[in-house]
Symmetry: C2
Subunit: 198 residues, 2 copies
């Protein structure tokens, strides 16, 4: 398999983390996340959104959207519950991540820590506010249970871990969120965990 | 079942459309999408994001995120393919919708046609540009096939139809997108289709 990847992208890291935990091997091709001028050339026909991660299977078929790729490989493994209601709850968290978490925390981290842009105070404030709300929602949930769905580690935890564990790079403070911090440690201690820098 | 709903929301409409096509009955409770001051009171404990749609099952368990709710009810029906790869492709389009389509087209429609706000020219332009890119991606895909996944109508079509068919309310022009227009007609002609205004 071939993963169109970015070493700094949390969305790509989700896929790398699950594939490591499943002991699946693949080739990585680094795609520039700052100069995006070659995206159509690289990804047209593979991913309608022209984003990374994009995965090309050995038979040539392609998959896009980080959380859809997680689902694809987790199906039938320990990382996706068997119960249909719990499967829906996993999806609920995956959509929460892409709509209410990533657009704030990942985008602010990209601006400040990756692309080193200088957004206006107003732009930073809007992203910070949305990210705080997402982190508050996560903290409330993790006060109730050790993992996001059921009592075991799933791809819902992988998806939310990806940008939560680097939220400090975007100026978010997790020190007053003890349930989240304990959960980050639980995620990190899973078998075959790899860091984002791998 | 009880659906926390908004008559004007395309995200809620997705759920209403699928439940109509599955001939499932439910109660609707209208939630204000402009004055959001009662959201925590209504939805805390039911939906971490405090958004509509939120669905409460007869046994009291709740589901959130429109596209996760679609998946939940489509599982095992005609509206979700059985093939695992095609299921992943459905999810790919559901995530595309929530990340690359809805945040532009639905938000701009909300500003202009629902809340009647007066965003700056710059804000409108940013949303318009993102929405045009999403509509272009959709057109390219629909030039190749009659429905988004496989050769049949699925929840991927429901999810993308919801805000595409009202994109005109946000100032998007579909006249130069013939494949999209033909697809909108195909979706509309499905058995038990209901309009957003129902």
């Amino acid at each position: 398999m071939l993963l169109y990847d970015s070493a700094v992208s949390g969305n790509c890291y989700k896929v790398r983390l699950l594939l490591a935990q499943l002991s699946l091997s693949y080739e990585r091709r680094e795609v520039d996340v700052i100069d995006r001028s070659n995206r159509a050339e690289l990804l047209a026909g593979l991913n309608p959104a022209l984003r990374v991660p994009t995965l090309v299977l050995d038979d040539g078929r392609s998959l896009a959207e980080s959380n859809a790729i997680l689902w694809h490989f987790a199906r039938g493994t320990l990382y996706l519950p068997r119960d249909p209601f719990e499967q829906t709850k996993v999806l609920q968290w995956l959509f929460f991540e892409q709509y209410s978490h990533e657009p704030y925390i990942a985008v602010l981290r990209f601006w400040l820590a990756v692309a080193k842009l200088t957004p206006s105070g107003e732009e930073v404030e809007a992203k910070h506010k949305g990210g705080e709300a997402a982190l508050d929602a996560l903290e409330r949930e993790l006060e109730l249970r050790p993992y996001l769905v059921g009592d075991a580690y799933t791809i819902a935890d992988i998806a939310l871990y990806a940008y939560t564990h680097v939220a400090g790079e975007a100026g978010f403070d997790l020190s007053a969120r003890p349930a989240t911090r304990a959960w980050l440690e639980r995620v990190k201690s899973q078998p075959r965990h790899v860091p984002i820098t791998d």
